[in-house]
C-alpha cells in the first residue's frame, strides 16, 4: 500500500525524535568545532590548555597555565571563534528570512544592498574621518547599512512596490554604494589606509574582542529566537502575500518585523566582521537540503551549520597563509561556491 509511506512523517529531515537527535549532535559539533579551532594557529595551544583556561575563567578553577597561552586563547582566539559562529548563524538566518519573504532563492543581504551600504559607512569613517572619534568604523558600518536599506525600501516603494522591485532597487543601491566606496578610496586614501579598508571590505575577524563577541552573540541568539517564533509565518509566505493573508498572517506587520530584523542582524554582523559574502545566500540552501522546506527545522539547522561553517572557514583562513591571514570573505567564497554548485546539481530542477 503506497499510502502508508505517504502518510508517514515528512519526507526529509526524518522523524521528530531523530531530528532532535541530529540537532543536539550538531550543537555538540559546534562546541567541539569552537574548541578545536582555538587550538589551531601559529602559537601552539592544546585542547587540554583550552579546557584549563575555560575552567579557570568560567568554572572558577585555578589551574596553572602559561600567561601567553591564556592571553591568546581568552583574549584572541575564543572571542574570534564566537564571532565567527555568530556571524555564520546570523548571516545564514538573514538569507533565510529574505529568501522566504521575497520568494526569491537568490535573495541575501548582499542583493538588498545592506552589505555594500555598510562598507561605504565604514570607509567614510575610516578614510574621511567623519565621526571617527564618536562612531568608530563599526558604528559607521551600522549606519551605512541602515541608510542603504532604507534607500532600497524607498526606491522600491517609489517604483510601485512588489518583491521584484525590491530586488531591482537592491541591485541599484548596491552599485551606488560600491561606487561611493571606490570613489572615497580612490580620491582620498593613501596606500596604508587602502590596505586596511580593503581587508575589511572582504570581511575580517582580525582583532575582534569580547565586546564584538557579545554583540554578535546576542544578535545571533535573538535572531534565532525571533525566527523560531515566526517559523510558521515564514512557511506561510511560500505561496505569496495573498495566501499568507488568507492563512491569518498579518502580512504587513510580519513583513516589517522580519525585514527590520534581517537589516539589524546584517548591520550588526557587518559592523564587527566586515562584509562577509556568500554565506547568507548559500547556507539556507544547504539547510534546505538537510532539513526540508519547513522553517521550524530550517531555522535551527541554518543557524547551526552557519556557525560550524564559519568557525572552520575562519580557522582555515587564519592558518592557510600564516602568519598573514586571508580575508574571511575570500575563504567563504572559495569554499562556498563549490558547495553551492554541488547542491544545485543535486537538486537540479527545483532550486
Amino acid at each position: 500500500m503506497t499510502t502508508a509511506t505517504a502518510t508517514a512523517a515528512p519526507t526529509r529531515g526524518g522523524s521528530r525524535p531523530r531530528f532532535v537527535g541530529v540537532g543536539l549532535a550538531a550543537l555538540a559539533l559546534l562546541l567541539v568545532s569552537v574548541g578545536a579551532a582555538i587550538t589551531l594557529g601559529p602559537a601552539d595551544v592544546s585542547l587540554v590548555n583550552v579546557r584549563d583556561i575555560l575552567l579557570n575563567h568560567l568554572g572558577g578553577a585555578d589551574i596553572p597555565v602559561r600567561v601567553s597561552k591564556e592571553a591568546i586563547v581568552w583574549e584572541d582566539r575564543l572571542p574570534r571563534a564566537l564571532v565567527a559562529a555568530a556571524c555564520g548563524a546570523g548571516l545564514g538566518l538573514c538569507g533565510l528570512i529574505l529568501q522566504s519573504l521575497l520568494r526569491n532563492p537568490l535573495a541575501d543581504p548582499y542583493v538588498l544592498g545592506i552589505s555594500s551600504g555598510a562598507s561605504s559607512g565604514a570607509v567614510v569613517v575610516a578614510i574621511l574621518g567623519v565621526g571617527a572619534s564618536g562612531l568608530g568604523v563599526p558604528g559607521g558600518a551600522f549606519i551605512g547599512s541602515l541608510v542603504s536599506f532604507a534607500a532600497v525600501l524607498g526606491i522600491a516603494r517609489l517604483a510601485g512596490g512588489g518583491d521584484d522591485k525590491l530586488i531591482l532597487a537592491g541591485i541599484a543601491v548596491t552599485q551606488l554604494f560600491s561606487a561611493i566606496t571606490s570613489f572615497v578610496i580612490f580620491a582620498f586614501a593613501d596606500s596604508d589606509a587602502t590596505r586596511g579598508v580593503m581587508f575589511w571590505l572582504l570581511g575580517s575577524l582580525e582583532g575582534v574582542r569580547w565586546n564584538g563577541a557579545a554583540l554578535c552573540g546576542i544578535a545571533a541568539i535573538a535572531g534565532t529566537l525571533l525566527c523560531l517564533s515566526r517559523a510558521h509565518v515564514l512557511d506561510a509566505f511560500a505561496f505569496g502575500d495573498d495566501v499568507a493573508a488568507s492563512l491569518g498572517v498579518h502580512v504587513k506587520r510580519e513583513r516589517a518585523v522580519l525585514i527590520a530584523a534581517a537589516a539589524l542582524l546584517t548591520a550588526t554582523m557587518v559592523s564587527v566582521a566586515g562584509a562577509i559574502g556568500f554565506v547568507g545566500l548559500v547556507l539556507p540552501h544547504a539547510a534546505r537540503f538537510l532539513a526540508g522546506p519547513l522553517h521550524l527545522r530550517l531555522v535551527p539547522v541554518t543557524a547551526l551549520i552557519g556557525a560550524i561553517f564559519m568557525v572552520w572557514v575562519d580557522a582555515l583562513s587564519r592558518i592557510a597563509f600564516s602568519p598573514s591571514p586571508l580575508p574571511i570573505g575570500v575563504s567563504t567564497a572559495l569554499v562556498g561556491v563549490p558547495v553551492f554548485i554541488a547542491i544545485m546539481y543535486r537538486r537540479r530542477r527545483t532550486l
Binding site: 503506497t2 499510502t3 509511506t5 505517504a6 502518510t7 515528512p10 519526507t11 520568494r103 526569491n104 532563492p105 510558521h232 512557511d235 506561510a236 511560500a238 505561496f239 505569496g240 495573498d242 495566501v243 493573508a245 488568507s246 492563512l247 491569518g248 498572517v249 498579518h250 534546505r288 526540508g292 522546506p293 519547513l294 537538486r347 530542477r349 527545483t350 532550486l351
Partner: protein
C-alpha cells in the same frame, strides 16, 4: 449567519472595481460569480476574503464587520483559493496542506491530533492521499488546484472562496473539481468563466458587469439570452435540460 456583503465598493487607485454589490449566500450553498474579464469577480473575492478592505459598504462575518474580526479567527472560518498561487520552494503536497493548519496554531503550537485529522481528511476528500509525498513541482495544473483546495479544506472553513479554480484545466478535471466543491459541506463563492458549468453546479448566481451586480438568483432565472447579450455582448440560445432542470447555453455566431 454567513459571510455577506452589503453595498460594498472598492475604489482601487481611482477606478471603481466593485460598485455597490450585495451578496447574501444561504449557508451551505454554492454561489457562482459570473461576468466578463475585469468585471470585478476577483476584486469581490478579495474583499470577501478580507485581504482588501472595501472603500464603502461593509463585509460581515456572522453579522460582524470582517475588518473587526482578528485575522487568525477569520482564517479559521474563511478559506480562499486564489489564481496563480505558485512557489519556488521545494515543498510536498503534505507540506502545503499542512499550511492550512496555521490559523489553528496557538502560541505553543497546535492540537497535533486535530491537525493530523484535518490534513488527512483534506487529502482524502481531494483524492490526494497517494500523492501526499509528491513534490509540488511535479504536479499537473489540475493537481495543483486540488492541492490548494485541500490546503483550504485543512483550515476547516465554513466559507470557501475560489477564484476561477477551473482555469487551464481540461473538461474532465473541470467537472471533477466543481463536483468536489459543490459536495463540500461549506458555503462556497466561486468565480467562473464558463456559463454552462456555472449553470450545472451553482445553486445561485451573481452576475457582475463593470463592478456592478446586474443579476442575481437561481441559474434558470438569471441566465437568459437577454442577460448574456447585455453582459457578454454575444448572442446565445438558452434551453432547459429536461432531466436536471438547469439551463444550457449554446452560443451563436
Amino acid at each position: 449567519m454567513t459571510l455577506q456583503t452589503r453595498d460594498v465598493a472598492w475604489n482601487r487607485g481611482g477606478r471603481l472595481v466593485v460598485d455597490g454589490v450585495t451578496l447574501d449566500p444561504r449557508p451551505g450553498e454554492t454561489v457562482g460569480l459570473l461576468g466578463p474579464n475585469g468585471s470585478g469577480k476577483s476584486s469581490l473575492i478579495r474583499l470577501l476574503s478580507g485581504v482588501a478592505r472595501p472603500t464603502a459598504g461593509v463585509v460581515t462575518l456572522d453579522e460582524r464587520p470582517l475588518a473587526e474580526v482578528p485575522r487568525r479567527e477569520a482564517a479559521r472560518t474563511i478559506a480562499t483559493v486564489t489564481q496563480h498561487a505558485d512557489t519556488t520552494v521545494d515543498v510536498t503536497v503534505r507540506d502545503i496542506v499542512c499550511l492550512g493548519r496555521i490559523p489553528h496554531r496557538g502560541v505553543f503550537g497546535g492540537d497535533r491530533r486535530a491537525d493530523a485529522d484535518a490534513v488527512s481528511e483534506a487529502l482524502e476528500r481531494t483524492g490526494l492521499t497517494a500523492k501526499a509525498g509528491e513534490s509540488w513541482h511535479r504536479l499537473s495544473g489540475g493537481e495543483r488546484q486540488r492541492v490548494h483546495i485541500a490546503r483550504a479544506l485543512a483550515q476547516r472553513p465554513r466559507e470557501l472562496l475560489l477564484d476561477e479554480p477551473t482555469n487551464h484545466l481540461d473538461i474532465r478535471h473541470q467537472l471533477d473539481l466543481l463536483r468536489l466543491i459543490t459536495e463540500l459541506p461549506v458555503t462556497t463563492v466561486v468565480a467562473l468563466h464558463d456559463l454552462n458549468l456555472a449553470a450545472m453546479f451553482c445553486d445561485a448566481l451573481l452576475v457582475l458587469k463593470d463592478g456592478r451586480a446586474v443579476a442575481a438568483g437561481a441559474p434558470a432565472q438569471v441566465l437568459t439570452p437577454e442577460l448574456i447579450a447585455e453582459v457578454y455582448e454575444v448572442d446565445a440560445a438558452v434551453t432547459v435540460d429536461a432531466v436536471s432542470g438547469r439551463p444550457q447555453i449554446a452560443f451563436t455566431i
